[in-house]
Amino acid sequence: MATTEAIDVVMPQMGVSVSEGTITKWLKQQGEQVEADEPLLEISTDKVDTEVPSPGSGVLSEILVQEGQTVDVGTKLAVIGGDGASAQPAQQEAPPEPATAEAAAEAEAPSSAESPAPTAPPAQEQQEQEPAQAAQAAQSNGKTFVSPVVAKIASEHGVDPSQVQGTGRGGRVTKKDILNFIESGAEAAPAAPPQPAPPAQPAAPPQPEPAAAPQAAAPAPPKPSPAPAPAAAQPGESFEPMSAMRKGIAEHMRRSLDTSAHVTSAIEVDMSKVSAIRAKLKKEYQQSYGVNPTYLIFVARAATETLREYPWINGEIRGDQIVTRSYVNLGFAVELQDGKGLIVPVVKNAETLNLLGMAKSVTDIAQRARDKKLLPDEVQGGTFTITNPGGYGTFHGTPVISQPQAAILGTYAVVKRPWVVQDDLGEDVIAIRPIMNLTLTYDHRLVDGALAGRFLRDIREKLESWDESAY
């Protein structure tokens, strides 16, 4: 590669189902020198917020996409080097980080930058993402392509082309199809007004009641009414745009509730033993490894161990099949520092980690999640999730399942409570014990209440009789 050759920086593929990303910040300005792998910009997608390292060294000669803009994966974002700028081939050829594998590949073949082809995902990921890919393929067939004339007719008559049966190639809606559809009595719904209704008539209903159209042709098929235009800001209100991550969370939460039959069971766990072990391990963990033996990692360790015996809770419904696994990929819901986002990094193969390994892994991914340094692989492929909203004292919750998983475990504040225990003589006495509530929110399509109850009971037993030699 010639040293003066320009290197394109493209929007990286941050996971198979991610198709676009938003530039949140350029960390280098036009004209600045940038070294290979040095953080160049920050992007936000519906899966992950991350820094994009530079695919090569040279002068950032051109920024093509400005902060705040959302572009498709593969879009050229900037150019490094080119006329007069020098690049260092040795550094360019160094294996790039996975996050930018595609960006680097693009940079090494600048001619292909204009027609970015989706890169094949790694084999395992591909397997896991097959349904998602099939869905994408279905969307990219002719069915959803709307030709200019069909779009025009649709907007003139207020018809949603996706409601029309297409006879064109791949089910595409042709001009004839939409004209026939309109002619056959699908009378035009009133087109949404381009401007919100004037404030003088705020009470005007945005769409007519069905009874208000008695002249409608007899059996008119149900027509889609255009979504009402968002209301303008009222006094005291202000608008802020939704980030890509917020939109992603919103979509996922709604979809999860629409998909799974959510049921929550809760159990109270006496954390006395864990508490004692924590106190013992704390110093060693902090001094030797720089990590804390938190309550969370004990729960994570116990849950992972218990999941071995409950494959369905670590499973998934895929089509009409039940998927079970020989591994546990444990997701942890992490609040981002600005309080405006949430991300679920995944500890892969959690079943191979002992308590210290779990502590190190959780500390590492949580920190990198907050620093926006997660790799796309690290937010995918979870099989079970733990969420820990107890940090602020809450003792109960009903979290939403991370799709397509079957369950999510909630951990809550450890609170000292008066607790009925048995003394040495077998008499009931009241003691002060650190109690933690655990909830399991599960998809009742797959997991029944009794199974969930046994699962929670087993976790409790492990936590209450913590066996240091085993864990």
Partner: protein, 324 residues
């Protein structure tokens, strides 16, 4: 009305104008004694004398040069190139002088150059070309490509009457194959006005010259399948009837541009681009082009058949668009 062949209609138009207007004369290789390579001017020398039906040396540049001079002096010359292919020899006179004379000096150059063009009879690379797009690209020249006997006569008279240099592309494959009613009296067909050869609702074919018939046969093939094809015969490619094309495309929303000339830079590209530019919101499918591949015209009959767009090629293209 008499039924004339395409070739007879050309002769008829030329004779009509020569009888009417003493300024009109014919010049070309073997147009006099021999009556022309294709016998368009057979008997003309007997009727009009050798000063109005002049045999020229084998020098196209001299023929067009002489016509340009005569036109500037007030005559209405009609030159015949023995084959359209040889007009390249006269390029400089046509493009540099005749096309720009009016612009430079204000003097009109009312010359007509008859160009026997097109393939389909194993004429090989020197006797089969359709060079209309090269000249349509030159401001100051007009390009006429009649498809029917009636148009052949009416367009030739318009060409002779026009104050500009007009290239009259007469398709050799139509000469004796195509017959039709032709009015005996003098009439003109305006330059720049397309003709709807066939009305239809589903796909528009924009074409001219011999391809009008190829398109028509293809349209007939699709009729049983319920695909209704509209054929616009441009008649003149410069000026070309944009309005008629856009109007038809707005009706059908699908367009196929067909020509016998090679594809890249062919006049079809101009038409396709105009449709995309001015009727974008009316389109229900991609604008399709069918044209000859970018090679010289092959001599071998099977190869020539593969080169020139055939009925089946057009039918397949139409079907593809109809099904899109």
């Amino acid at each position: 009305m008499a039924e004339l062949t395409y070739l007879q209609a050309i002769s008829d138009g030329l004779r009509t104008e020569m009888r009417r207007d003493k300024r009109v004369f014919v010049i070309g290789e073997d147009v006099g004694v021999y009556g022309g390579a294709f016998k368009v001017t057979l008997g003309f020398q007997e009727e009009f004398g050798h000063w109005r039906v002049m045999d020229a040396p084998l020098a196209e540049t001299a023929i067009v040069g002489a016509c340009t001079g005569a036109a500037i002096m007030g005559m209405r010359p009609v030159a015949e190139m023995q084959f359209a292919d040889f007009i390249s020899c006269a390029w400089d006179h046509l493009v540099t002088v005749a096309a720009k004379q009016r612009y430079r000096a204000g003097t009109p150059v009312p010359i007509t150059v008859r160009l026997p063009s097109g393939g389909g009879f194993s004429g090989g690379p020197f006797h089969s070309q359709n060079p209309e797009s090269s000249f349509a690209h030159i401001p100051g020249l007009k390009c006429v490509c009649p498809a029917t006997p009636e148009d052949a006569k009416g367009l030739l008279i318009s060409a002779i009457e026009d104050p500009n240099p007009v290239l009259y592309f007469e398709h050799k494959h139509l000469y004796r194959r195509i017959k039709g009613e032709v009015p005996e009296e003098r009439y003109t067909v305006p330059l720049g006005k397309a003709r709807t050869h066939r009305e239809g609702d589903d796909v528009t074919v924009v074409t001219w010259g011999a391809m009008v018939y190829t398109a028509d046969e293809a349209a007939q093939q699709l009729e049983p399948d319920g695909v209704s094809v509209e054929i616009i015969d441009l008649r003149t490619v410069m000026p070309w009837d944009k309005q008629a094309v856009l109007e038809s495309v707005r009706k059908t929303s699908k367009a196929l541009v067909l020509h016998e000339d090679t594809r890249t830079g062919g006049f079809g590209a101009e038409i396709a681009a105009t449709i995309a530019e001015e009727a974008f919101e009316e389109l229900d499918g991609p604008v399709k082009r069918i044209a000859a591949p970018d090679t010289p015209v092959p001599f071998s009959p099977p190869l020539e058949k593969a080169f020139i767009p055939q009925v089946d090629d057009v039918a397949a293209g139409l079907r593809e668009l109809a099904e899109y």
